[in-house]
């Protein structure tokens, strides 16, 4: 019983991360009126469903939810990693996929000199992926 309690807590933490990130993302786009760039959209596609999928796995606790949520988290993590490399200038201009529309490298916010929007996304997806892998490893 103690095990399933810990599993529930891990999954709940995942859901909180996804929900807070979704709220933050919607705040940036709807309240602060920052237009999401193409890469942001790909990350949102990975993030928004997690709020519902993870919540569904909580009641009652269903460990198999990892199978459905980990691919989304991993895809989001990869996109976020790419976005951050682009943002930091490690990927040269020529292969940037979003020359039209909103620039993926425009700086909207910068908290404490390091926390840009792509960085927040990277942190959220990294935490989600790590916690979901942890949950997967704990499977009996």
């Amino acid at each position: 019983m103690a095990d399933s309690e810990a599993d529930w807590n891990i999954l709940f933490a995942c859901w909180v991360i996804a929900a807070v990130s979704t709220a933050g993302s919607l705040f940036f786009s709807h309240v602060m009126e920052f237009d999401p760039c193409v890469l942001c959209w790909y990350q949102r596609i990975c993030l928004f469903p997690l709020v519902f999928i993870l919540a569904a796995g909580l009641f009652p606790l269903d460990r198999t939810v990892v199978r459905y949520s980990l691919p989304l988290a991993a895809a989001g993590l990869l996109t976020a990693a790419y976005h951050n490399l682009l943002y930091a200038g490690f990927i040269p201009k020529g292969i940037r996929p979003c020359a039209k529309g909103v620039s993926c490298t425009e700086e909207y916010i910068n908290l404490f000199g390091i926390l840009s929007i792509p960085m927040l996304s990277l942190l959220a997806f990294a935490a989600l992926t790590a916690l979901l892998i942890l949950l997967k490893r704990r499977e009996p």
Binding site: F12, W15, A19, F27, V31, L58, F59
Partner: protein, 218 residues
């Protein structure tokens, strides 16, 4: 049961936090721009800006408009109504924010019409026949030119005036002011320097009326 309660509490906290943060952010932003209004009112009203209304009117309704923008056209009727409802109390200031492709040329036509004293006639004509001179959201400058001509503007003179670099300067200034004030959609309204934060006819009326009250115009 406890878990469900925690889950529900977090949901509520998130939604509540979102709503509170939104209203706080909007207030901050409005306060910021209001402050800017006092400090540099010229950002809102330039000497070249066309102004309609009584000289003594204390309430400046500044409209950043794109002649090709449908919402701008549909708001123009409402703006007329509210100005008629408070005669002599409101001044309408038009600023250009030609965001549609090709709308620059139409703004230049309006500036040309202004030199012939036909600005408001030309603007009304363009709004009314917008569907004719824009096709699939694309500006057809020749058709717009005809519309302006039919509003009583001398076409030959207009053609010459439109090439005047002074007109390009006016457009560049308006564009820069729009950017400085954070106008990225049209119409962008400011009433005595206060931005219309939530877009809508009712909201605009409320903002105008609160400024009428604040300026002792009522």
């Amino acid at each position: 049961m406890k878990k469900k309660k925690i889950f529900a509490a977090v949901c509520l906290a998130l939604i509540g936090g979102f709503v509170l943060a939104s209203s706080y952010y909007r207030k901050q932003r409005a306060a910021q721009l209001g402050f800017m209004a006092q400090k540099n009112a010229e950002t809102f009203v330039r000497p070249h800006s066309p102004i309609l209304g009584d000289v003594a009117a204390k309430v400046y309704l500044v409209k950043f408009t794109d002649p090709a923008c449908e919402t701008c056209a549909s708001f123009s009727g409402f703006v007329k109504q509210i100005m008629a409802a408070y005669p002599g109390k409101i001044k309408l200031v038009i600023r250009y924010a030609p965001f549609h492709e090709g709308a620059d040329a139409v703004a230049a036509m309006l500036e040309g019409a202004k030199r012939q004293g036909k600005f408001w006639e030309a603007l009304d004509a363009l709004y009314v026949s917008q569907g004719y001179w824009t096709q699939h959201h694309q500006v057809v400058p020749d058709l717009a030119f005809n519309v302006v001509g039919r509003a009583g503007v001398d076409k030959e003179r207009l053609k010459k005036d439109m090439k005047d670099p002074a007109i390009a300067e006016v457009l560049a200034q308006d564009r820069a002011d729009a950017a400085a004030l954070g106008v990225d959609k049209t119409p962008g309204f400011f009433v005595n320097g206060k931005p219309l934060v939530v877009f809508g006819i009712r909201e605009l009326r409320a903002l105008i009326e609160s400024e009428l009250l604040a300026s002792d115009s009522l």
